[in-house]
Symmetry: C2
Subunit: 349 residues, 2 copies
Amino acid sequence: MHGKRDVIVHGTDPYNAETERDALAAGPLTATSAFYVRNHGDVPEPADWRLRVDGQLERPLDLSLATLREALPEHTVTATLQCAGNRRAGLIAIRDIPGEAPWGPGATGTATWTGVRLADVLALARPLPGARHVGFEGADLSPEAKPPQPFGGSIPLEKATRPEVLLAWAMNGEPLEPVHGAPLRVVVPGYIGARSVKWLNRIELRSTPWKGYFQDVVYRLLPEDDTPAPGRGLPLGLVALNADILSATPTEVRGYAFAGGERFVTRVDVSVDGGTTWTQAELLDDLGPWAWRHWRLPLDLPPGEHELIVRAWDSSAATQPEDEAGLWNPKGYVNNARPRLTLDVPRPT
Amino acid sequence: MHGKRDVIVHGTDPYNAETERDALAAGPLTATSAFYVRNHGDVPEPADWRLRVDGQLERPLDLSLATLREALPEHTVTATLQCAGNRRAGLIAIRDIPGEAPWGPGATGTATWTGVRLADVLALARPLPGARHVGFEGADLSPEAKPPQPFGGSIPLEKATRPEVLLAWAMNGEPLEPVHGAPLRVVVPGYIGARSVKWLNRIELRSTPWKGYFQDVVYRLLPEDDTPAPGRGLPLGLVALNADILSATPTEVRGYAFAGGERFVTRVDVSVDGGTTWTQAELLDDLGPWAWRHWRLPLDLPPGEHELIVRAWDSSAATQPEDEAGLWNPKGYVNNARPRLTLDVPRPT
């Protein structure tokens, strides 16, 4: 059912697949059928789904989806989700990362998400003064976790109360599909995809960040010589400035750039001579602060070999690191090096 | 009166000076007497100072300092200010930037700032729905501006209503000095120093960003081959992740790192072998989200020449660009390349 088109399958148990470059390049919104999937267990299909809201709050909630939809106003946000492992293949090319899939540039995609604001749910539940983090837990069960557990994670309460954070039941205007988290998932724009927990059935108000396996051990940035263990390294959260090339011909290069939303992409430069000179690309459709920007640059490349390099800039005037060498880490996260591509233009025959 | 100690003077008409490395290294708070000064005109000493608040709002205000202090609650924020030209010397070393001073790492510093929240002033003035930006204008007159005008700039209304943005009359617990903006300056933590307008005597609620010379022409990031002109390039705003080395001996290296506040410094690595291996430095005093982090690493360097490199990481797992080469721009702003230093340890005699 999944993985039939426009995706590269990295695993079937659990199902994991990334979007092909052509499908990413097709437009600023990614088709649901081609949207990347990063799962850590089988897709659950709960028969009697409820959403519990508990922890450090005045008024615990236990809601059906119908109640949620009736009680609170509906909102739609266009947001890019991006896995922390996006572009890991570039790190594996330097040094292997056993047990981790070689994701290319397609562990990211942009969709419209429709649901209720998490802020509105929290206002009903009335967090206590000690609540500082909002935890999310899915209905799945991950056998790879130690011990086996549902997928989960948390975000700071300050982010959770922002208007862009949704509990979504629809994606690209259609009911959310099981593989993408039906009946309800969190969507946390600007944060690594791991915080947009699928099959959400519990929200916990907490004084401390989530202690589950996936936030406390897995999705962390470790120094080069460290080994994953509870609390080692630093938790990932905000998305870092990134970009990749999606298509390149002698007459045009296209790609995406994404800065997360708290910061936005201001400029994308392309070099066709290995970094000696740079030309600004055209930024395409602006779908709002939480979505990537596609970009393009017309080229007129003569026959021969050309080294293309791309560098994006964000609204703090920060740009991407030159190459992957200094970015290698034991889990292979956040490869945001400048993308490079060698294009060999043949002589006309 | 100024420039007598702990500063390197870049100009006297107008007065401009940066903090010496030793004074930066002395502690996480920078002494007022050593704090950097970036002025664009003579220091005004208005005899009859008032603060006007006008533009797109319901209730224009015209306030004395006494009224401001009596009417609104006092707040103190510890914040690092950083000039967009900090570390420009590293860019000039690649290619000259005529007319711009070769600022080293001391166009930044950290102080406590005391005053009222801009948000509280805006609440009194009641912005109209069309207001999107908050402009600031000083009482100085800059002859270098075209045409000559007071220094000014704006920030988005969304930032202006955040609790960290102050109208400050005190710095490090003492009344603000004239050279630092007395009687009142804006302090915009996390933004380039140019937005923390001194000698503030006008706040304007606007639908568009400030059109004055210093925001529309000067403090902008231009592509390498462009020339400053109104609206060219991109306005600077948020501070980019940066770091520098403040002292290095065979037994210890120390420095600062700053990520702006919306993001924070999570890690600082030091290499003593030109980037082959890296060791994590210790992060020192945490003065809150809007202040830099000082860091240190004990060393035990044998005699010989050692190439030290430092790289800071922020909470989005972004790190600094490897070197200055790709960062050169016509005004020499935002040099946030990894700092490097060659340390020659002599043989014992």
